[in-house]
């Protein structure tokens, strides 16, 4: 099982993802420079958090035109696992690999805090080891995490069950008070129709060991490994 972690100029969570992959899980890791097109046979490509290209113009707007993104789009088109976290989610929306957009937080503040996520889909490659309605404690760290989609897109997302994670309270109730950024329907993470591309604002790679305050993020990484192993052994 090999993970690829894409590095753009301004990416800052690449090493956090790398730590979880090779130190915590002992899986294979490749860093993929944004100007390279070779995904080096990775089974899952992560677009990590950060401020690619300084977040200039719009978050993710420049990064989506990096050469590596052509390969990422082609890989996603073949059903490959593409996982965007924070800035990676913003890039996937800009690239049209996921619907909607991420706009400035409604409170205008950069929010760096713990959130509770309720998992609504446990049949995706990213959440197969999570219990249905399980509450995951995973932090956010962003200024533009306010998920927006126009009404037809939103109702399609909801009807097709593409919302994987929502901000919730500690008991898993999706309430306005638990929404840290104004995201429509408390949306924290979505998948594409096929289920192989996931975008989420919270950072599971920063909650993968008890020593940092929560190990809930590890469920997602382990789910990916399990799914990839199934594909590899099929």
């Amino acid at each position: 099982m090999r993970f690829g972690v894409v590095v753009f100029p301004g990416t800052w969570s690449d090493r956090d993802c790398g730590w979880v992959i090779d130190q915590v899980l002992g899986a294979e890791l490749r860093y993929l420079w944004h100007k390279d097109r070779d995904l080096q046979g990775c089974d899952c490509v992560i677009l990590p958090g950060g401020f690619s290209h300084g977040d200039y113009l719009r978050t993710g707007a420049i990064a989506r035109f990096s050469p590596v993104m052509e390969s990422v789009a082609e890989f996603a088109g073949r059903g490959g696992l593409v996982w965007g976290i924070c800035n990676g989610f913003q890039i996937l929306c800009e690239a049209g690999l996921l619907p909607g957009a991420l706009i400035r937080n409604d409170a205008l503040q950069y929010r760096c805090e713990w959130t509770n996520l309720v998992c609504e889909r446990t049949d995706t490659a990213y959440s197969s080891l999570v219990e249905r309605r399980q509450v995951l404690r995973i932090p956010i760290s962003h200024g533009e995490g306010n998920y927006f989609a126009d009404p037809p897109t939103l109702s399609r997302l909801e009807q097709q069950g593409q919302v994987v994670f929502r901000y919730a309270d500690e008991r898993g109730f999706v309430v306005p008070a638990a929404n840290p950024n104004g995201s429509i329907h408390n949306i924290a993470g979505i998948v594409n129709e096929r289920g192989n591309v996931l975008g989420m604002m919270p950072h599971p790679e920063r909650a993968a060991e008890a020593v940092v305050g929560s190990a809930d993020g590890i469920f997602l990484f382990r789910s990916v490994i399990q799914s990839a192993m199934k594909v590899l052994s099929a």
């Binding site: 420049i62 619907p99 927006f148």
Partner: protein, 93 residues
Amino acid sequence: MITSSWLARVIVTPKPVVNDPQGLTVAQGLRTLGFDEVHGVRIGKYIEIEVTAEHRREARERVEEMCRKLLANHVIEDFRFEVEEAPAELPTG
């Protein structure tokens, strides 16, 4: 071939359906200053682009393409622009 220099002034605005927390905050600030007549503020971007093209029409087509591909995100933003002829650059030195 004769080419000219053109200046495009691009304005990108949030779509009406998109919440604009920046605009709401500035509106509040203006009312705090006593501008009670303010009942709406929307904040977008202003971008100037210098381009070389044979004709204005060609310059317009290229700038429109730039807006669609990069300068505006059609999910959340609208754009408009105007193109004017820029004074020819004088050789230096």
